[in-house]
């Protein structure tokens, strides 16, 4: 086996040093009653070429591999990944290193993540950002736990029902064991979060909104911030499409205290939903309450600028059960990828891309409205939007599927109250031809 370098002779020489006759003898102290019975039943080794054929066949079993376009987002977005991003991120010095415990030989990862923290903070309009969390959903859960820590005796959080349904489920999993209360806020007729009942909630530590929300609707964050702060709670703003902030006012500028969300759009393939990137930022006054890894700037003994893991007294290896979180890693390579992607776009590029996405989504939305569809919510949207149909859209959807276009997702699986409504997504990867085909098919 090519990954196992020992020759039989070497094994023999080494065993003579360790004082064993056979490899099996290294395990002689393991009691019989703990032993694996028989040999591992997982087949013979497969060669590189056979493996390549096998995975190719698996890829082909995903019907999406032959699809021309997937007009569906819902937390996983199709964006162009520049070749330089994939190429640079596959450099094995980044790929095969571990957590930068030894900063002198990890400055590549450390400076790269410091840059990621900075670009993330700038994107979200916040003062500080961490080195990333597992994904947008767990980032939201950690943000709410952080708000509860800051709120001390407050045990209740309110989350908007227009937050991604899966994110809300993850929040409930994370918060279930302790006696925390999670209240869901209704979505109003405009597709925005109804904040009218906040004053009646006791012990409210935080209120979480998503913008653009699951329906693609842009929330009025500034107004929300005022109402949330009036109820003495922290404002947690989450997102699933970071491109929106190339065009929209940032959550920080709108008054959010903690901002978190999914960064997959920035250079990561969709890969059946993972790995993604939990982006996480806050105001500076809460930096010692942040969960997860942090990279900070410092100096070496010669006064040269360098970077280290820092504020580790928040973390488990020192604080154990009193740590701010149990997370002891980050999505290192994904964070580095997002930084490289943001650098590749630049400030000019992200503005242009955000507009491109917006224009394309508006084109399909307006085309479908002209073809007879109805707006579920009459509010501005970014990238994603929800429409309802008087006719049976599921038949149209099936016809489009035969043409290799996956057009939207039925909303009722997550929101039974919205019948015959579909969530659509358009990014820069969908061509005008594809969008026209969808519009034509609805007109049929």
């Amino acid at each position: 086996m090519r990954y196992l370098p020992h020759t039989d002779k070497e094994i023999e020489q080494m065993l003579s040093v360790t004082g064993h006759a056979h490899l099996e003898d290294l395990f002689s102290h393991i009691p019989d009653k703990c032993r694996y019975q028989g040999e591992l039943n997982i087949g013979s080794p497969i060669s590189e070429w056979a493996l390549t054929d096998y995975f190719k066949s698996l890829g082909e079993k995903n019907s999406v591999s032959s699809a021309k376009a997937v007009l569906l987002g819902a937390g996983s977005y199709s964006h162009f990944i520049p070749e330089i991003v994939s190429d640079l991120m596959s450099r094995s010095e980044f790929l095969t290193a571990y957590t930068p415990y030894q900063p002198e030989i990890s400055q590549g990862t450390l400076q790269g993540i410091f840059e990621y923290q900075t670009l993330t903070a700038r994107l979200l309009g916040m003062e500080v950002a961490n080195a990333s969390m597992y994904d947008g959903a767990s980032a939201l859960a950690e943000a709410l736990l952080m708000a509860i820590r800051i709120g001390r005796k407050k045990n209740t959080v309110a989350i908007s029902s227009s937050i991604h349904p899966h994110y809300r489920e993850v929040v409930k999993s994370y918060l279930q064991a302790e006696s925390f209360t999670v209240i869901e806020l209704k979505t109003d007729k405009k597709g925005r979060t109804d904040l009218s009942g906040l004053a009646d909630i006791d012990g409210l530590a935080a209120v979480a909104l998503q913008s653009p929300n699951f329906f693609g609707v842009i929330e009025e964050l500034q107004d929300a911030a005022t109402q949330i702060h009036d109820s003495k709670a922290l404002f947690v703003c989450c997102f699933s499409e970071p491109f929106s902030y190339g065009m929209l006012k940032s959550p920080g500028e709108s008054g959010a205290d903690i901002v978190c969300g999914e960064g997959q759009s920035f250079g990561m393939p969709q890969s059946f939903g993972g790995p993604g990137l939990g982006m996480f930022a806050s105001s500076k006054k809460y930096q010692r309450n942040l969960p997860g890894r942090l990279i900070g700037e410092t100096q070496d003994v010669d006064g040269r600028r360098g970077y280290v893991l820092t504020l580790s007294t928040r973390e488990q290896h020192i604080r154990r059960e009193k740590a701010t979180s149990n997370i002891c890693s980050n999505q290192g390579l994904c964070a580095l990828t997002a930084a490289a992607y943001m650098a590749t776009l630049g400030g000019t590029g992200i503005r242009e891309m955000a507009k491109l996405n917006f224009n394309k989504a508006e084109y399909l939305k307006n085309g479908l409205l002209a073809a007879g569809a109805n707006l579920l919510f009459d509010s501005p949207t970014f990238n994603e939007f929800t429409l309802s149909f008087d006719s049976d859209f599921s038949k149209t959807r099936s016809r489009l599927l035969e043409k290799g276009i996956i057009a939207g997702m039925e909303l009722s699986q997550f929101y039974p109250e919205y019948k015959d409504a579909y969530l659509f997504c358009v990014t820069e990867t969908a061509s005008k031809d594809t969008l026209d085909t969808v519009i034509q098919e609805v007109l049929l």
Binding site: Y134, S271, L333, L336, L356
Partner: protein, 487 residues
Amino acid sequence: MTLGPGRTGLILDEPLLWEKGKSGRTAFSMPDLDVPEAITTIDKELLGEGPDFPDLSEVDVVRHYTRLSTWNFGVDTGMYPLGSCTMKYNPKINEKMAATPGITASHPLLGDELSQGSLKILFELQNLLTSLTGMDKACLQPSAGAQGEMAGMLIFAAYFRKIGEKRTKILIPDTAHGTNPASAALCGFTPVSIKSKADGTLDLQSVSELMDEETVGIMLTNPNTLGIFEESIREVTACIHEKGGLVYGDGANMNAVMGIVDFKRCGIDIMHLNLHKTFSTPHGGGGPGAGPICVVEKLSPFLPVPHIVKNLEQYHLEYDCPDSIGKLHAFFGNFSVLVKAYSYILSMGGKNLKKASQLAVLNANYVKESLRDTLQLAYDMPCMHECVFSDALQQKHQISTLDMAKRLIDYGYHPPTIYFPLVVQGAIMIEPTETENKQDLDQFIAVFKKVTDEARENGDILRNAPAITKVRRLDETLAARKPCLVG
């Protein structure tokens, strides 16, 4: 300094991203706008200026990250004997398999019918992991070992809620990784620390005294974090089970025992595996990893949703699981990491996985025997895939573990894990892994001996090490006292 691969060379400096670039440059191939510009109906109040990012050219970006990469040390660079992290070689073919177009383009919400290939990967990998551990069911959703632990603790809580018992404490050995108590606390349990015996193993007597009807059970690691197999594991787990408790096994050290130990027979009820350790997926400078969990049958109803099942020849996502602890990830976990691990297991086959464990243990024992007169062994016990020393012999020369670790860098090695586990003062934990050959181990051993010679004869070389890296020792106190987290 001719021992070891470390030499001096040209290091190129590189500023921070925003210290370079000029407004108007671009590295992005911007698609044309092929639709009419939309008349924006968005309220101006909602619009912003966009972020303050630098504009860079393609060459700017390429040079930037290429230079940064040269300041890093990875497994592909050299030996990385970081104990408890299993820094084995990460096969290239696995990266290619995960990049198969039909796999990377797979959207997570298309439903069963359009996702059969991805679902098959998840289903088959679940089965392989249960085969490898001896457990009954697996769930691949946890994104890392710590999230696997958390899933385990949530399952503990859900199980006792289901059977109507209120238990609040959990036993955790003092050798445990810090995430164990942190995960337990996050799920509402109060950790009770168990002091290890003088030989570094679990004290059955203490477990038996501390285990009671208010305690959910125990979280243990076997082989433990000292690299020692807990020979009394069956007695410990029996004691927990007798009092109605459950046993969580931290599978961080699975690389020592593939095909050798059956965790269900050991009495483990639930365990996680670190695919980025045992199953060779790259660590990526700290992630993404994957921390799937495996459980015995009676705990399978509590696994996160969706469960991935096979009906006839179709794979299916099952959401109707009323006892489930819910979801831990927006979708199905770090999928492409799972693909890489699947590719690794298929490449190795059963025979080679067992051989990998045997050779990992052989390498650790070889290093242990070769350095036993050079460094103080923390516990003179049979070791598994890693061995733990301390700086007790070097202290008299005012040389610490940190100094030796930093000196190893100059010689071209990533240092071992240092100052963990906490029960060993000045711990030096060496895990060579099976992918290091004898020649390279011999060179490493010779270098370590040289470093201890230097400790005796010329300690300042160690105290001032590393000397030839891009930066030398960094001021961590300054970083923590005046945090500068963004530039």
